[in-house]
Homo-oligomer: 351 residues x 4
């Protein structure tokens, strides 16, 4: 860490800062510049000291040098994390596609869609049983029964399943039925939920908060990792900007940036990232070209009548299938292999 | 609701849209314009129909006319909500000041600060027992004991108390000890928490999500109101923008805007809204001049050694006292009365 | 256009609005809803009337149905604009790559780089002679001599040239020497400059303002088109968001969105869009996968010593060449042909 | 300046960086930390060296310590700049109010409004002769005649005048007729215009770019100051954020922040900052309470029929007069004196 002083600081104030640093068992290196003095700290600085120094007289700024996340950082874990779920590998050189409806609506609906996802070459079935909704009067999901319907559809068609969990008390039941638990964008900093997921025993797909920086995103992942769960996927799903034509602005630079800063797989969500069906195909391709380790895409057999009203961003089944065909061509050009799940359906039986 | 068609739509497609609307028992008014046709819907439109229409062939856009929140809207509740807590009135022509540390650290600390808040003319003691922190390695609050310490300090000095609740399972215990429950910015759309607060029996101060629109903010309030709790305060605490010099950009226009759209009291938080001590005083005054119904301000006896490191935005006690003196002069100029809590200390006894 | 009334409006106020509309020779269609009345206007509405209505008593909102740009809109020009410059076609099914340094520094530098751009398969040489700089003490470009150096290098190596023009008085001289004139992000709404470019006789690459919406962007293009110049390219170059790790957030959704709203070619600038060399390659590929009609990329033989200090986002020549090889594979997968300029060098002679 | 290395850097790379620094005649101070090495530079660093270092192998980041603006900084000019124009003082302890229409429409209109501004206690008459408009088909101002009409109205009623100048070629004529020249938000980084204003001989009100940081804002002011013109006012006029209910988000924290960083007067523009008439009064008061040195407010005798359509944010004359009365009460509470221009009308004669 570095302390930058104002151009008015006295020698006495510098000495006071140095003594505060040394009191904490750290070394202080003082460099006097033309109009400012800079004091470097050697050793592990706790955040309280950082703030204390920032507030001392004569201090203009304090600059962190080390990152506040460790387990999520590639600095300390140079190799890619590869998450192996029943034989499907996420991360490394693999491309994974997760498809399905915004919400599970009925056993028949999810079964039908699972069959289509599998036929198109997808490896994971997505679907929400509990839905976060902006207003209290909207459809809020079918609940636990939806979890069961989705687990059965996944098992029958040989697909992994992913579902969103919104509150700590539902983590256990979701972990019982789904292969991957998803944290939604509004919950990226629901710290109690993150802590609970650290011990849930299932891989977690963590969506970026719609106004969260990369640094905050990786710190949120750190909560889960620090709890003992190493299987975290990062998901870029669009950020809020001044542009309102698209529902969000899908930040594809996040893909190579996060892959540089972290070893965790990075998934792209072009459905929520754009909020418009006609943009899902080009942005899916762009995501893969940018190096994404996977995609999570909304697909619905009857999007115009979806219960959540999110159908506007759902692909029709034939669009989904055509897209995955194109991705098979595209993936090798960026060094990715796109292979459907190899495990026999029996492996998908719920333990 | 209004459906706007593309300039390519056929007469047949228009008729199809009209029949879909009438199927739901609503009337459709068709207006043919120079290059577009507009179809107005008469009756209460459910969101599913809205989305269905948006996705039909020939439809370019669907514009909501009615607001999605009702209970929070001034349309249906023209008079200001005034929340009366043990004789202290929030809303209407009153100005309330809530002061205290970011986090409760010890019984002595909170008692000392409570005494200072009261002496300066504040009516509510703020303090966090559970702290939301960006990274998992930071101080996370002293927990339930902190609630008890704060309740005792409030009771002793004749102050109401407010504390943040982060997860549904802690609502009951917080409601037992505190007079007002606070929802933090990261939890504005933690819908399970909002629902739980709808039945908690205590007034709630709801902070605006740091990237939430006024509309989303009022919809979040609607969750609490719809649960049966009419005592909600809205709190502007700064939004995230491209400017990083300040921690957030305090959006003071939110004060008159929200007071226009809603009947709920609007509180300003210049401490988190700026993240810089030297800005708290001018932005507190600006908040009151803009018409705020109250302020929530961080104050600490030793901010440079606060346990959360948020001391950088905390006022010193003498700054807090001087500010409140100035507010006494300012409040009447904007039609507000700033009076300390009139209730005898006995009323503050926990039931 | 549609006028939406408040829920308090009287019948008399509605009639007053209607008469104001009819006074302008337009028809008004009144639809009474459950709690609001909606008034549709038939005919071409001038902006003054729109504002007048918005401010009338009882009016809550006014919604534009038609777009304010016409010439830039695909509604009135369904086919792609293809700009043919000396045999190189931009738009339609072609992919164009523009490469070169941030600033022209010397005749030798630009000649050397032109040779490398050509060898790699690029069709256009980019380079700034006049540089917009945030502070007054930075290098501001070599001026008119730079234009001459670049024209000579382009002519020698059979490349088109593009350069930025910052002020109306330099349009003529830039148009004399360069094949394409570029409007920088800070000048997207420099309306005097746009007007002047409408009559300059050369194609224009218009960069999106770093905080401009799609609508404002297309209105800025409209200024040039309305002046009589049909050869405008739109360039997405990153927008300003809360994320500061990247210099800007490259908004790749802009590519399919703008191609949908407009018939003009859309170019992507991953260099300024990210501000980081290591992101240029993945974001170039992502841009092409998203459907871009071209790329504008900074390349420098000695980026660490570039005079503008923008070298941090410039590719090395070998990176540039390797990227273009990869794009040759990628382009056909998204229906684009990537062909180097076919014109003989003689055609590049300045007239 | 400080160079922060990656945790992988070799001793040899550190030495290479040091030698590059020393080659430029500067000293380098090396501090080895637990996982990173930090190199401080002593002496005046030119921007090219900064960028060169940023790009060297093993360098993770380069942190500027000194500010890039000098003349605008309070560091080197501790006392407030007070601009005296014909006896009216702007800056220091004075509050100045500028009022008038968005655009000059006719001699009668501007005369009538000038009379009202003066009667209400305003000191400066605002009005646009040349108007920047998003689309090419909107009213663009009455031009030079408008300048003359406004100069005459100002002279007759004893008011200073301010008008916007959009392009370098109009600086001279605007400077001939107006007392203060205004740079609009879209031109904050029109560097040719800023340079020209550096030598125009009249005070300049520089509006903040709607997406510009404080640092960029002060650098833009530096262009004018560096040209030899010390009389610059900074104007906060709202920034672009995700919130679209208001036209912009008026960033009132900018007032105390800019007054801390700079010695230049800071003016607030609540009309453009909110875009809604009903917010102008509360945000004007809030601006003064936050410490603004002045306000620039749109007022129109017939806002519903203003030619620019900006009437929606213009006050009616009686609202303007009532607001200024309230400000007279408010100003002394924040240490400001609000006095109308003392100069006799004769002084307002154009030289």
């Amino acid at each position: 860490m570095i302390v930058i002083t104002s151009n008015q600081i006295s020698e006495e104030q510098v000495q006071h800062i140095v003594s505060e640093i040394e009191k904490e068992g750290l070394q202080a290196h003082v460099s006097k510049g033309a109009d400012r003095t800079v004091i470097g700290l050697i050793g592990s600085v706790n955040p309280k000291l950082a703030e204390h120094l920032r507030q001392m007289k004569g201090v203009e700024n304090v600059v962190k040098i080390s990152k506040s996340y460790k387990l999520a950082s590639r600095d300390f874990h140079p190799d890619d994390t590869v998450i192996d779920i029943k034989g499907t590998k996420i991360g490394g050189g693999n491309l994974v596609v997760m498809g399905g409806p915004c919400a599970v609506e009925s056993a028949q609906q999810i079964d039908e869609i699972a069959q289509l996802v599998k036929a198109a070459g997808g490896q994971v079935l997505r679907g929400g049983a509990f839905k976060p909704r902006t207003g209290p009067y909207s459809f809020q999901g079918v609940g636990v029964e939806g979890l069961i319907m989705m687990a059965e559809a996944g098992q029958k068609h040989g697909l992994l399943t992913i579902t969103e969990v919104m509150t700590p008390e539902y983590v256990d039941i979701c972990a019982e039925y789904a292969d991957i638990l998803q944290v939604g964008t509004r919950n990226m900093q629901n710290f109690d939920l993150l802590r609970k997921l650290g011990t849930c025993g299932k891989p977690v797909l963590l969506k970026r908060g719609f106004s969260s920086t990369y640094d905050e995103f990786l710190n949120a992942a750190e909560y889960i990792l620090a709890g003992g769960n190493p299987n975290v996927m990062l998901c870029e799903r669009g950020i809020r900007t001044f542009e309102t034509y698209t529902r969000n602005t899908l930040d594809l630079s996040a893909i190579p940036v996060l892959q540089g800063l972290s070893h965790l797989p990075v998934i792209s969500d072009p459905s929520h990232g754009t909020g418009r069906r006609e943009l899902v195909e080009p942005m899916s391709k762009a995501s893969v070209a940018a190096g994404a380790d996977g995609l999570i895409i909304e697909m619905h057999t009857d999007p115009d009548n979806s219960m959540t009203g999110d159908g506007v961003q759902s692909l029709f089944p034939d669009q989904f299938a055509a897209l995955l065909k194109d991705l098979e061509q595209l993936a090798p050009l960026v060094g990715k292999s796109f292979a459907t799940a190899k495990a026999p359906a029996s492996e998908f039986a719920r333990v």
